[in-house]
Structure formats: structure tokens, C-alpha cells
Amino acid sequence: MTTALRRYPVLIALCIAALFMVVPFLIVVVNAVKSPAEYSEHGPLSLPKGVYLDGLKDFWQRVDYGQKLFNSALISGSVALLAAALSVLNAYAIGIGRIKGRTWVLAFFVLANMLPQETLVYPIYYLSKQVGLYDTRLSVIIVFTVIQAAFGTYLLSSVLGQFPREILEAARIDGANKWQVLWRIVVPVSRPTIGVLLVFFFIWTWNEFLLPLVMLISNDNQTVSVALGVLQGQRLMDATMTNAAALLGVLPAIVFFLVFQRTLTRGIAVGAVK
């Protein structure tokens, strides 16, 4: 009986805490569909009387949001695929090939992953100008492919280090060469881990801010994060525009979250234990 009495306060406390986490999202949704007049009259906490979508439409057209979404998707998608491919190649050499000095190679990738981007940003900015890649989406794709692959190599190497040796041995006896072993056996068997990497690389790249901010200056190349961050930094948005920006920025994140929720939570667990 005593435990039953103590259970509900814990549940209620946790629900209130969870509500506090979600409230900012709710406030954004509620206010993005208010008209400017309604907002200035009743403030941010009132419920909307109707659905007013002109603010969203205005904002979409003013910042060419479709283009920003496309840029973000193009950059994040390419990085996810390329970085996963690079991670697989690296991890194949380290985890299964057990090349000489693999501990040092692995330590290098771990440290590369921990390096703050501030220490790379100016030389990357300078070098990309030298080779004519400044302000191109390709430059951002290249840089993040390498940065994300550093993490992927570290994670995949430890997973592949535990790959059942009998399977590899059997394939070799059947006459498969190293490429065939990689593509026909290692990649299909490791598909769950590679899937986790794809999801993480996509979302991480989508959320990146510093390097895209420095590298993508023209409107046509900017990502969602950079476009919204720069607008906010200029302090030029009125309340309605801010609401629209917030909602349009939040929506893709919520979609990813709902689509990938399982992979995300499972992936974090895998990553932390390795």
C-alpha cells in the first residue's frame, strides 16, 4: 500500500518534467498559426482562434525555404552515404584485416573525432578558396564525410573486431577475395550497425552549424540551420516571422525523430557501450 501511494507522485513528477521538455515545441506550434494582430493583442500564451497560415507562407517565400530544405537534404544525404562507405572501408582494414599498428590508427580516428572544428575551420576556409570550392555544397559534403567517418570508423571497427571468424574463413575457402568478402558477407551482416550510422550521420550533418555558416555564404547554398541562424543573428525578424521560422525549423526534426526513433535510441546505446 505504501508503495502504491508513492508510485503516483513519481509518475506525476516525471510527467511534469516531460511536459516542461515538450512545452517549447507546443508554444511554437500554437503561435505559428496566429495572425500578427492576434499575437500582439493576446500575447504568446493564448490559444489561437483560427488557423492563420499566411505568416508561414510569407516566410517560406521570403527565405526560399524549399531551396534550403533541398540543400540540407542533399548535403546530409550525401554525407551519410559517403561517410558510411568510408567507415566500412576503414573498419574493414582495422577490425577484420587487423592491419599492423591498428591501435594507433584507431587512436588517430578517435582523436580526430574529438578535435574541435574551430581548429580546422580557418584552414579549411582558406584552402577551399584556393581550390575554388568555397561556397559550394560539395566542400561541406567533403569535410563532413571525413569528420563523420572518423566516428564511424571507431564504432564499426569495434563491431567488426567481433565478427565471427568462421564465416570469413568459410568464405575464403570457397574462394572469395577480400572485396567479395566485404560486399557479400561483412556489409550484409553488419547492416543494423551501418543503418544506425546512416541515421546518425544524416541528423548530425543536418544539425551542423559552424562549418556550414562559414562555408556557405550565398543564399542558394545555405542549409536550414545556417539560414535560420543567420536570420536570428541579424535580429531582423518580428514575432510572427520568428514563430514561422521556429515551426519550419522544428518540423523536419520532429519528422526525423518519429521516423528514426527506434534507431536513434538503440544506436546511442550501442555507441555508448563500445
Partner: protein
């Protein structure tokens, strides 16, 4: 899986006949590393070395850098802005590593022990999802949402305080130099909390429930079981979370850029934002490189220290 793999390898090794099969040239696997190594060289190693070299020079980004030795670093020692930015970093470590780890531990244990057991895993999963949601949000978007909630006029927080009769508590949350840093810290707790929570909940699944049952039979209360059973069991997760969150706190940039731009009056300046403005607004590239090099050294030393601590703890467990 580890055990069977190792056993298999040992078994095949034992029965291998040295005769017909030629020894495999192991090094040919190194070819698979080639693309990754070249890419890392171009994007990470070369820029890193360039940045380090530039930190010993005076350079405006055009023309030839002028070698000045340790002058930039000597200037840093006397630069109040530099010290302030690192002091603010410590506040960020509190907000992004210490607080989320402690709160995340308690929340994870409560969700796992209480909610999942008495109300079902579905409710626990939904609550966990709520806490994790801010983690998938781009930091720039989180910044927009919060700077608007914390706005002095017509911001939601001030409107809420007024509505519940606490109008005198209203503040210019991000514009008051005495409060801005704490406001940013609050936002970062909100952003970061989901990560430790999810890691700890996964870790708790490893804890043997019999330990808890035995302790409960012996009359140990929830807090004592949490302290003596749960905490020691998920120590590896705690180390990992503290390492990752501390490093993330030292690197924090986007939130400061969007929420306060380091202001008001440098009250929320952090090293990464300080180096960014030194690079691209003041174009003192050499000085900016020195700031980022100091940041890098601190992060690398911390990572190595944590790594050492972690392996020692693991060895201690085994002994």
C-alpha cells in the same frame, strides 16, 4: 558473440596445417584504409597542422604570415576576454555535463525502476522520447525557439510570470549581463538532458534484477539501492557520458551564436565563439588560431585523462 568468435579463431588456429596453405599477406588490407587515410590527411591533418603553425604568426588572412613565435600565446595570458571565455566554459560544463548527468541518472533510474515496472514500458518509452526530443533539434532552431520564449517584451516566459502574478520576476533573460549566462545554461540543460537519459536507461538493462530484489528483501530503500547497486553497475556509461558532454560543452558555439552572440558585453562569450569572431570579424587569424589551439589542447588532454580513468576503472572491476 565475442566468446564464440574467439573460440572459433582459436580452434581453427590449432588445427591449421602449416603445409598446403601459404601464409596470407595481411598487409594488403591496408589498401582499404587508403581512401580514408588520404581524406583524413586533406581535411583534418593538414588543416590542423596549418592552424597550429599559424598560431605562431601574425596574419590577417592575406599576404604572408609573419613569424612571431609565442607572442600570441603571451598576449592570450593578458587578455581578460580570453580568461572570461574559458570561465564561461566552466559554466557550460556544469550546464551540459554535470547537471544533465546527475538529473539524467535520477530520471533514468526512476523511469526504469518505477514507471516501467508499475505502469508499463510503453509509458516509460513515451516519457523517454519527450526528454530526448530536444536532442534531434538543430541547435540553431533551438536557439530561435528559446530566444523568442525568453524575449523581454511579449516573450512566453515573462507572459507566464505575469499571468501567475509573479510580474516582478520578469527579466530581460538574455539581455541582462547578470542573468544571460544562467539563461543560456538553462537552455543547454534542456538541450542536453536527453542524451545521458537514453544512455543510462540502456545501461540499466544490464543490471541484474536479482541484486535489487535481494537488497529489497534486506530492507534497503530505493535511494540506498540506487547508490549501492545501480550507480556502481553503470559506471562505464557514466564515464562515457561525462566525457562526451564535457567535450561538447567546451565546443559549444551554435547556441551562443544564435541566443546572445556572446553578449551582452561579452557576458556569454565562450572560446569557440571568441575564436570565430577573432578569425572572421577581426581577421586576426594568428590570434584566433592560438585561441583554438589552446581549446584543442585542453580537449585532447581531457579526453586522454577520461580514457585513462575509464580503462583503470574497468581493470579495477576485473581485478
Amino acid at each position: 558473440m565475442t566468446v564464440t568468435a574467439e573460440k572459433g579463431a582459436r580452434a581453427t588456429g590449432k588445427h591449421q596445417h602449416p603445409g598446403p596453405r601459404s601464409p596470407r599477406p595481411r598487409n594488403s588490407y591496408a589498401l582499404f584504409l587508403l581512401p580514408g587515410a588520404l581524406a583524413a590527411l586533406a581535411v583534418i591533418v593538414v588543416p590542423f597542422l596549418m592552424n597550429t603553425a599559424v598560431s605562431f604568426t601574425s596574419w590577417q588572412g592575406v599576404g604572408d604570415p609573419k613569424w612571431t613565435g609565442l607572442a600570441n600565446y603571451r598576449d592570450l595570458l593578458d587578455d581578460a576576454e580570453f580568461w572570461a571565455s574559458f570561465r564561461h566554459s566552466l559554466f557550460m560544463v556544469v550546464a551540459m555535463a554535470a547537471v544533465p548527468t546527475v538529473v539524467g541518472l535520477v530520471l533514468a533510474a526512476a523511469l526504469f525502476d518505477y514507471i516501467a515496472k508499475h505502469f508499463g514500458t510503453r509509458i516509460a518509452a513515451v516519457l523517454r522520447a519527450c526528454f530526448y526530443l530536444p536532442q534531434v533539434l538543430p541547435i540553431a532552431v533551438a536557439g530561435i525557439v528559446w530566444s523568442w520564449i525568453l524575449a523581454p517584451d511579449n516573450g512566453s516566459l515573462n507572459a507566464l510570470l505575469k499571468a501567475v502574478g509573479l510580474g516582478s520576476w520578469q527579466q530581460d533573460w538574455l539581455g541582462d549581463p547578470d542573468i544571460a549566462l544562467y539563461s543560456v545554461m538553462g537552455v543547454m540543460v534542456w538541450v542536453q538532458l536527453g542524451f545521458p537519459l537514453v544512455v543510462f536507461m540502456a545501461g540499466l538493462q544490464r543490471v541484474d534484477p536479482q541484486l535489487h530484489e535481494a537488497a529489497e528483501l534486506d530492507g534497503a530503500g530505493w535511494w540506498r539501492r540506487f547508490w549501492h547497486i545501480t550507480l556502481p553497475q553503470i559506471r562505464p556509461e557514466i564515464y562515457v557520458v561525462l566525457t562526451w558532454c564535457t567535450i561538447a560543452a567546451l565546443k559549444v558555439f551554435g547556441a551562443v551564436y544564435v541566443l546572445t552572440k556572446g553578449g551582452p558585453g561579452g557576458a556569454t562569450d565562450v572560446p569557440s565563439y571568441f575564436s570565430f569572431t577573432t578569425f572572421f570579424e577581426k581577421t586576426q587569424v594568428g590570434y584566433g588560431a592560438a585561441i583554438s589551439t589552446v581549446l584543442t589542447v585542453i580537449i585532447l588532454v581531457l579526453s586522454l585523462a577520461f580514457l585513462k580513468l575509464q580503462t583503470r576503472a574497468e581493470e579495477g572491476d576485473r581485478a
